[in-house]
Amino acid sequence: MTSVILTIVDRPDSAPNVLAAAGCFATLLNGARVNVLAIRVPPETTILPTEEVLTRSHEARLRAGEQDRVQALRVIYDAWAKAVPQGVAPAWFDVEGLEDGLAAEWGQRADYIVLKRPGRRDQAVDRQTVHAALFETDRPVLLVPPVRADTFGRRVAIAWRDDKRAVRAVLSGLRCLSQAERVFVLSGVREGAAPPEFPEILRDHGIEAELHVLPIGSGAFGETLLRKAHTLGADMLVCGAFFHSPVRELIVGGVTRYLLEHADLPVLLRH
C-alpha cells in the first residue's frame, strides 16, 4: 500500500511552502501519494442572496478570477512536482466547492493532511478549513508555518499529557519518526504536582526519547512549549488537539489555539 497525504493550496504566496513541506513529510512516511487540492470558490457563495443579485457578468468575473488564481497555483505545483524526492507521487485536483467541506471529505480518506497554518491576517475561511480537517476527519493534520520548512522530522518534540488526545496524536506521530535522530517529550507540571512520568506508549513502541518537564505557570503554556522546542533544536512538534464545545471557533483548547496562531515549526496535531 501507498500512504496518502492530502494538501490544499490556496494562495500563490503560501503554496510553495506548503508543497515543500508536504514533499518532506512524504519522505518521512517512506514515500507517499500527495493529493494536491486547489479549490475554486463557487460564485453563488460569495454574495448575500437576500441583499445582492448575482448578475451574469459578475458571476463570469468571479469565475475568471478563480480560474486565474488556480492557474497560478498550477504553475507552482508543476514546478514542485517536477522535482519531488523519489517515492513521492503528486496528483493535482482542481475542484469547485466549499473549502471546509472538501477538506473534511478528502481528508477523511488520507493518512495525513498537510495545511498551512492560518496567519493572523488570514480570512476566517482558512481557520474553518483547519478546524474541519482537525475536528471532522479523525485524521492527523500537519500545520505548516509561514516560514520555509522543507527539512524536518530529524529532531521531533512531542507535547505530552496523559490523556487520550495526546495518545492519538502520538500514535500518528510514531509513523513519521523514520528519520528522527532525537525525540523529546515535553510535559508540563503544575507547581506542587507530582512530576510527569515517561509515557508508556513510547516505551511500548520501543521509542527512545528524552523527557523534559516544563513548569505550567501563569503564562501561555503554548509559548513555553514552543520556546523549549526551539531550545532543543526541534524541527517538528507532535501535539494532541482539543476543543471543548460544539462552537469550535470559540473554545478551541488554549495550547491548541496558541499553536494554531503562533507555531513557527511544523506541528502535527490530532484530535
Binding site: M1, T2, R33, N35, Q108, D138, R139, D204, H205
Partner: protein
C-alpha cells in the same frame, strides 16, 4: 518503532487462538510487540508456551500482565488499548458473563482503536483474502484506514456493498472507493442485494463464497456508548462470523 498488539485473554479455551491471531498480525506488520492481558494467572503457562514456540518466528516480544480482578481487566483494556495499534479479542459468546461483555464493548467502543474479533474455532492464518463490508460513510472509512496496512499484503481484496432490492437505480453506481484506489489497493467489487434476509447473513455467505479469511467493517452502535445498542449488521457479524473480523467504531 514496533507496532503494539494488545491481546485480551479473557477465557482459557480461547487463549491459544488469540495468541496465534496476534502472531499473524505481527507477521503482517513486520515488526510488533505482543502485549497480553489476562484475568486468570492460569493463562500464564499458555502464553509463555506460545511465546517460546512462536515468539522468535514472528519476532514478537510477548509481555503478559495478569490483572487479578475481572473488573480491573475492563479498566486495563481501556487504558492499554488506547495506546496499542490494534486490540485482539475473542468473539463474544451467548453465555458470556456481564463482565466479559463489558470488557468486549470497552475494547470495541472505548479504545478508539481497531479491534480484531477472533471466532472461537479459528486456528489458521488470515489476511490473504480480505472482504470489506463497505458503505459510503464515516465509520466504514474509519475501519478501512487502519486495515490498509494489511490489505497491501493480501492476494485478493473483495469489496462488498449492499443495494436495496427494487430500489431506484442509484445516481452514482457502486464503485471501488477512492480510499482504496489512492492507497494502491486493487479490489473486486461485489454488489449484494439487501432483501428480506438479514444483510449480515448475505454478507457472511458472500465472504465465504470468495474464500475470505478476514472481514473488515465499521462497528456501529446507537445511543450512548456505555450501554449502546449495536447496529443490526454489527450484531449479526459478532454472533455469527466464522472468520476474524477487523472492526473499528
Amino acid at each position: 518503532m514496533a507496532d503494539v498488539i494488545l491481546v485480551v485473554l479473557d477465557r482459557p479455551e480461547a487463549a491459544a487462538g488469540l495468541l496465534a491471531a496476534a502472531g499473524c498480525i505481527a507477521r503482517l506488520t513486520g515488526s510488533a510487540r505482543v502485549k497480553a492481558l489476562a484475568a486468570d494467572p492460569a493463562l500464564r503457562p499458555i502464553a509463555e508456551c506460545w511465546a517460546s514456540e512462536a515468539g522468535q518466528a514472528v519476532q514478537a516480544a510477548l509481555s503478559l500482565d495478569v490483572v487479578d480482578a475481572a473488573g480491573r481487566l475492563t479498566e486495563a483494556v481501556e487504558q492499554r488499548g488506547r495506546r496499542a495499534d490494534i486490540v485482539v479479542v475473542s468473539q463474544p459468546l451467548p453465555d458470556d458473563s456481564k463482565q466479559a461483555r463489558e470488557t468486549f464493548r470497552t475494547a470495541l467502543f472505548q479504545t478508539e482503536r481497531p479491534v480484531l474479533v477472533v471466532p472461537p474455532a479459528w486456528g489458521s492464518a488470515f489476511g490473504r483474502r480480505v472482504a470489506i463490508a463497505w458503505r459510503d460513510d464515516e465509520r466504514a472509512i474509519k475501519a478501512v484506514m487502519p486495515a490498509l496496512r494489511f490489505l497491501g499484503h493480501a492476494d485478493a481484496v473483495h469489496l462488498m456493498t449492499g443495494v436495496r432490492a427494487g430500489a431506484a437505480k442509484p445516481a452514482i453506481p457502486p464503485a471501488v472507493p477512492s480510499v482504496l484506489i489512492e492507497h494502491g489497493i486493487n479490489a473486486d467489487l461485489h454488489v449484494l442485494p439487501i432483501g428480506a434476509a438479514p444483510f449480515g447473513e448475505t454478507l457472511l455467505a458472500a465472504a465465504q463464497a470468495v474464500g475470505a479469511d478476514m472481514l473488515v467493517m465499521g462497528a456501529y452502535a446507537h445511543g450512548k456508548l456505555r450501554d449502546a445498542i449495536l447496529g443490526g449488521l454489527t450484531r449479526h457479524v459478532l454472533s455469527h462470523a466464522t472468520l476474524p473480523a477487523f472492526m473499528r467504531h
